[in-house]
């Protein structure tokens, strides 16, 4: 046992392993950079870095061909930790090396955390508009909204992942809704088309837009999917109907017919059902006051994009204005708001909203590594200079 453990320690503390992993890392990063031209940055994330084995598309199939980012990063992390414990016994002389490697460990761990915990949303606002939620870039949710009250909505949101899992069955809603929700069909990516009115089979949907419109399955892409689902609601007195919901049925749709909300009445209350980008509600509201987009005179080079916003907390404790522009995000209650896109002609601005609890780690690790390397190399340099001067002065 202890022989085996010694062999493991020997393996994981070896500099040879470090060199091999660094070389593998270089090859991975290089190939991923080249591949980015073809598969885009999101594809590179998926196929090269956030995976144990890098996959290359061959004849439409992704084949694992090389150790991936998790594999190399993970082994490097083990290599570092083992070396810290077993090889780099603490000594003042080695303080620099220790600090630098601690910094690299922190950097790797921080990246892992960021990969697991970071959430990205966006918030699209027209001038004068106020929102208290941000929307996901990719994930959707089924929202069943009680709109009876004139001053607020009550929302029950069901994540897309649950729809996919419950396909053909019922979703547990823990009694939050006065009816059962059955997912009769779920399509991860679908286009919409007019239903052939002369078709013999009845429309799968019995209420709402689905009586005239059908969803057509499309191949699933790595980004920009538009899901659709057939959802049946069953009350105490029997089925209320089956609705076709789709991410393309939204107030922002270019087709007028798709802009109408799908509403119904049940038990004296007014309801709406929709499939939309997942929303992250905040305990505060953001109002876009003004967008500015300047260019340098006589050029098309953008000089400045900025959004002046007002942030108001629901508890009334905070109410202030902030200017968000390139290189100057707003950090507020654990979220960071960045200037993301802008359509100044239409007075519209899109903010990227990021929640990343580990955002400070890179700062700390950068400082640690820099300090460590400066100490380490500074010591060697001063020793070298000292010897050199002795040698020069010793010359006749």
């Amino acid at each position: 046992m202890s022989d085996l453990w010694n062999a493991i320690v020997k393996f994981f503390t070896s500099l040879r392993l470090t060199v091999v992993l660094l070389a593998l890392g270089i090859v991975l990063v290089f190939v991923a950079t080249i591949a980015q031209v073809r598969v885009g940055v999101w594809g590179v994330h998926q196929h090269f870095f956030h995976t144990f084995f890098a996959r290359w598309e061959m004849g439409g199939v992704l084949v694992p061909v090389f150790p991936g980012g998790y594999f190399i990063g993970g082994l490097l992390l083990l290599n570092l930790i083992f070396s810290h414990i077993y090889r780099l016994k603490f000594a003042w002389k080695k303080l620099g090396i220790q600090l630098a490697h601690a910094g690299v460990i922190l950097l790797l761990v921080g990246e892992l955390f960021a990969g697991l915990l970071q959430e990205d949303f966006h918030m699209s606002l027209n001038e004068g508009e106020t929102r208290s939620y941000a929307e996901s870039f990719r994930d959707h949710e089924l929202a069943i909204v009680d709109t009876t009250s004139p001053d607020h909505d009550e929302v029950v949101a069901i994540p897309e992942a649950l729809l996919a899992r419950a396909r053909g069955g019922e979703i547990a809603t823990a009694g939050k809704l006065p009816f059962h929700v059955v997912v009769k069909e779920y399509l991860p990516n679908a286009g919409l088309g007019m239903r052939d009115a002369s078709a013999a089979t009845p429309a799968p949907a019995t209420a709402g837009l689905g009586q005239t419109i059908v969803a057509v399955p499309q191949s699933v892409k790595s980004e920009g999917n538009s899901p659709a689902a057939l959802v049946e609601l069953i009350g105490a007195g029997g089925p209320l109907g089956t609705w076709l919901v789709s991410a393309q049925i939204s107030p922002d749709s270019p087709a007028p017919i798709l802009r109408a909300a799908q509403s119904f009445d049940h038990d004296g209350r007014r309801w709406r059902i929709e499939l939309r980008l997942r929303r992250d509600y905040q305990p505060f509201a953001v109002t876009l006051l003004k967008v500015t987009h300047d260019i340098y005179p006589g050029t098309t080079i953008p000089k400045n994009f900025s959004s002046r916003v007002r942030v108001r907390a629901n508890d009334g404790r905070e109410d202030r204005e902030a200017l968000i522009y390139m290189n100057n995000p707003l950090r507020y209650r654990g979220l960071t708001f960045y200037q993301f896109q802008m359509d100044a002609a239409n007075h519209n601005s899109v903010l990227q909203v990021v929640r990343n609890p580990g955002w400070t780690l890179p700062y700390v690790s950068c400082a640690l590594v820099a300090l460590g390397l400066v100490i380490q190399f500074g010591l060697s340099l001063s020793r070298f200079v000292g010897r050199r001067q002795t040698a020069v002065s010793a010359q006749p």
Binding site: R16, Q36, V37, G298, T299, N327
Partner: protein, 628 residues
């Protein structure tokens, strides 16, 4: 004699610089210097006419030198004046560079038709310009079609790129000649005066005509014709040479002459004179230049400048300094000094190591001080940290690497630092020269890059990392060359080189790591993600990983001295890839310069480095220096 050598070489260098950095004003009866310092707004920046002349010539023909058909060399400003005011003459100057054989064939040229076998005059091009337009249209149509079909437009081949480039040059030249006077007008100042005299009558006639009342048709027509000519100039004029109106709060609102004329026309005859003062003055300069009457020209220049001094005084200080800076050509003369230093240092390995070595060291120091001055000057002109684009990165990489060389030479005193310094200094300035052919090198920063703090920290640190990695590679190159081909690499020099390479790799590791992580932090600040696997970020990361690999391989005893040299040589490839290769991919946020002619040189460089690595490591190679 030997004792005085280092000092006399240094003095020689200083005298050389004193002579070339302060060239006498060009001999001419015209106040060319005064005109060349007049400000215009172009590409978002107020710059002197001199810069416009030089950068335009560089873009058109890859050099600033231009001769008229009689073979007399013209000052860049003289060429600009002829293009602005005597287009018929300037059409005979051979300033359009064409090298692609198929484009030559398109015009029915053989290389011998052109000056230097590649430069042609506008007059030579003119008969076949329609054909050029047709080719450009075909390319644009194919690309538009692809876009409509939802496809990526196909990559342009070398012929298509050459066609599009030449066409853009012809358009630029045309637009330049519509900047200050109407290109078809024989006497634009006279036209303006006539227009002004008839303006009130013309406006009245136009109003009457609109109301369907009797009117002076000739007056109406004259005013409309003039307005049409102004409209042409407003649309095509390239230079924004007319300062913002006196009451305009936006001091960047410089306009071209056509726009100012249209605005002025709305104010009636009295207002017109007032509001188009600068246009009329430039038209007067044009008449004086066209008729070659220096006294009138010089008086015009003299009179115009004070009208700007009040509002734009501090900016005139910069445009004046820039004109001086352009004429001094510090980076060109730095190149000359680096070559001299390199040769001296190489000679020091053969004879008089001490005297020649010190002479070379001082010459490198002088050249480095000169480039330092040049870089500081650019920073002041731009109000930015040293590295803002590819061109300035080349300057800075050279500067940083040579600084390290000076430190190495101070410690080791074996000529290696001077040789490497001369070599790297020269090479980076040559690269910078070719990068400057794209146009003005003092560019405005995109909004996303507009952050002096990050430009000063992340960009400077990463660029220093590039510089150090390159230097380690060049030191290894010296080691392999001397070891394989000469007997001069003795034990002491070999030890010293190994120490140098190791030290420089350590230095490179610090800076490339810190620079790369700072880049991540910048990205976190501006885009909300610490690391995005953008190609340029990846390039920097690869440099960090490579330097770390060299250090760990050495610490682990996996490589000996020759292996270390081979790894450092490969560092050259890694850095060249990161510096230029990723830009050629044309994706990502950092793809600010797509350059394809550089691709050939990049490949050639990579092959040469691979050959050296093979030389350093192949078992069969006989090293003439046995100690290595």
């Amino acid at each position: 004699m030997k004792k005085l050598l280092p000092l006399s070489i240094l003095l020689l260098g200083v005298v050389y610089l004193a002579l070339v950095l302060f060239p006498p004003a060009p001999k001419s009866d015209f106040n060319l210097d005064g005109f060349s310092r007049l400000p215009v707004l172009l590409n978002g920046r107020l710059k002197p006419m001199d810069t416009v002349a030089r950068t335009t010539l560089l873009m058109l023909q890859g050099r600033q030198r231009v001769t008229n058909p009689d073979g007399r060399a013209l000052e860049p400003t003289e060429w600009l004046l002829d293009t602005l005011y005597r287009p018929k003459l300037s059409d005979t100057y051979q300033v359009f560079e064409i090298t692609h054989p198929d484009v030559l064939a398109l015009f029915g040229f053989v290389a011998e038709d052109g000056a230097g076998k590649k430069r042609f005059a506008f007059n030579q091009l003119q008969p076949r310009l329609d054909e050029l337009d047709k080719q450009a249209r075909l390319i644009a149509q194919a690309e538009e079609q692809a876009r409509q079909d939802g496809r990526e437009p196909p990559d342009r081949n070398a012929f298509q790129r050459a066609v599009m480039e030449l066409r853009s040059h012809v358009i630029l030249y045309d637009r330049l000649s519509a900047s200050l006077v109407h290109p078809a007008s024989a006497d634009f100042l006279g036209d303006l005066q006539k227009f002004q005299t008839g303006l009130d009558a013309g406006r009245a006639a136009l109003r009457a005509r609109e109301a369907g009342q009797p009117h002076d048709e000739a007056a109406a027509k004259a005013t409309l014709d003039a307005a049409e000519r102004f409209g042409f100039m407003a649309e095509n004029g390239y230079l924004r040479a007319i300062p913002p109106a006196a009451g305009d709060p936006d001091s960047d609102n410089w306009r071209n002459a056509g726009t100012a004329l249209i605005e002025g026309s709305g104010a009636g005859a009295d207002g017109f004179a007032d509001r188009t003062y600068a246009v009329q003055l430039y038209a007067a300069l044009g008449r004086a230049w066209a008729t070659q009457t220096p006294a009138v020209f010089n008086e015009g220049v003299q009179r115009y400048r004070p009208t700007l001094a009040g509002r734009f005084g501090d900016r005139l200080a910069k445009t004046d300094a820039e004109t001086r800076f352009n004429a001094a050509l510090p980076f060109y003369h730095g190149m000359v000094l680096y070559v001299g230093a390199f040769l001296l240092a190489v000679c020091s390995w053969l004879v008089w190591p001490d005297a020649l070595g010190r002479a070379a060291y001082r010459l490198v120091g002088l050249a480095w001080a000169l480039t330092t001055g040049g870089i500081l000057m650019r920073m002041w002109l731009e109000g930015r940290p040293p590295v803002t684009n590819l061109y300035s990165s080349a300057l800075f990489i050279g500067w940083g690497a040579v600084a390290l060389c000076l430190v190495l030479e101070k410690f080791f005193r074996n000529g290696v630092g001077s040789v490497a310094g001369g070599l790297v200094g020269f090479a980076t300035l040559i690269i910078a020269h070719y990068l400057s052919l794209g146009g003005d090198t003092l560019e405005m920063m995109q909004a996303v890059l507009d952050s002096n703090f990050w430009l000063a920290t992340h960009v400077v640190a990463v660029t220093t990392g590039y510089a150090a990695t390159f230097l380690a590679g060049f030191l290894a190159l010296i080691y392999v060359f001397r070891g394989v081909f000469t007997r001069t690499l003795d034990q002491a020099t070999g030890d010293a080189l190994a120490k140098m390479v190791y030290g420089i790799v350590c230095f490179a590791t610090i800076f490339s790591f810190v620079g790369t992580v700072l880049g991540g932090i910048w990205a976190d600040q501006s885009w909300g993600r610490f690391w995005g696997w953008d190609p340029k970020e990846n390039g920097a990361l690869i440099i960090v990983l490579w330097n770390a690999l060299i250090l760990h391989a050495r610490w682990g005893g996996l490589v000996k001295r020759r292996g270390l040299m081979a790894l450092a040589l490969f560092g050259n490839i890694v850095t060249a890839w990161s510096w230029f290769g990723v830009n050629m991919l044309g994706v990502g946020l950092h793809s600010y310069g797509f350059m394809d002619s550089a691709l050939f040189w990049l490949i050639a460089f990579v092959v040469s480095q691979l050959a050296l690595i093979a030389l350093a490591t192949a078992p069969g190679v006989k090293w003439r220096s046995t100690a290595a």
